[in-house]
């Protein structure tokens, strides 16, 4: 095996790993921004509904759980030991009448 083979392996591993990490980071940032935007939309919407019967249609973390917009590797999610499906017990309470 020539020295160039080892050079190719080393450069592929190092540059490849850094590129993958950068791309994953960019994806996580984009997802976190989307979740924040949706949460803020829900937050402002909830204020308007406060005097009504709160016709709740979609919880903010639903987006997170579905994986369509949420970052499921969030700070607290990292520590949940795979119990993500049990999340949001406080939020799961039925809306106040």
């Amino acid at each position: 095996v020539s020295s160039w083979t080892y050079v190719a392996i080393a450069y592929t591993v190092v540059w490849g790993a850094l590129a993958v990490y950068a791309l994953l980071l960019a994806r996580r940032v984009a997802q976190a921004k989307e979740v924040e935007r949706r949460l803020e939309d829900t937050d402002s919407g909830a204020g308007k509904r406060a005097s009504a019967s709160r016709p709740y249609t979609r919880r903010p973390y639903d987006a997170d759980r579905s994986g369509t917009a949420g970052d499921d590797r969030g700070r607290h999610a990292e520590g949940d030991g795979g119990q993500k499906e049990q999340d949001g017990a406080a939020c799961d309470a039925p809306p106040a009448p």
Partner: protein, 256 residues
Amino acid sequence: LVEIDGALVRFLSEERLRDTLIRETDMDWIQKRGYALGAGSLGLLALGGYLALVWSPPDVDQGDAVRIMYVHVPSAWTMYLAFFITLVGSVGYLWKKDLKWDRLAASSAEIGVLLTALTLASGSTWGRPVWGVWWTWDPRITTTAILFVIYSGYLMLRALQPDPLIRARQAAVVGIIGFVDIPIIQFSVDWWRSLHQGPTFRLLQDPTLDDRMEIALLVNLVAFTVLYVFLLGQRLRLASLEERRDELIWEEAQRV
């Protein structure tokens, strides 16, 4: 107690939460500099790759295998830098009790662990053609592997502790103690007779490298440093967004 993403999180009070979580979500400055840093690091890496693979000469003894040095040494240098920033963040948190220091330490540690893995992988790939083995229990290699285990444990500790204040304190202690391994790695080649070569650069001494090799190595060192700063900025931005998200979930939980 509040449950966020399935994890029970203790907050002393809403006021305490507001004090500890970062209020500043306007990360425009990171974004603007992020684009410049990202483009700059990409350009420097391309230049460094050209200098390393084409422009610099092969070594008299090692032949073309010496070109692995241009990614191995910068990986190791940025690994040191990343864990030094983790040390600074850890000390800063214990001193100021401000979670922004904890975020800095955690973000830098994550990048540092990746760079440690790359240092070990590139070193192993370099060792095979030069030493004839993929791995040997040389003092420098062994202490670097120990560093990888220490900071992987640091990240696992952070993942397992849901309370942000307890997590920050425990992680800060590990982040400070773990840094003790860095000078041991650096000076291991001087303290013990080992297979690993000595430092490529020494302060106050002329480098022993060929001029073209030295220039290629310096360009790659700068490229990796700029890339580290870029990645750190993006990781900090992500940490802020995640905390803001958790804060909004908390506010929603309070309301319903």
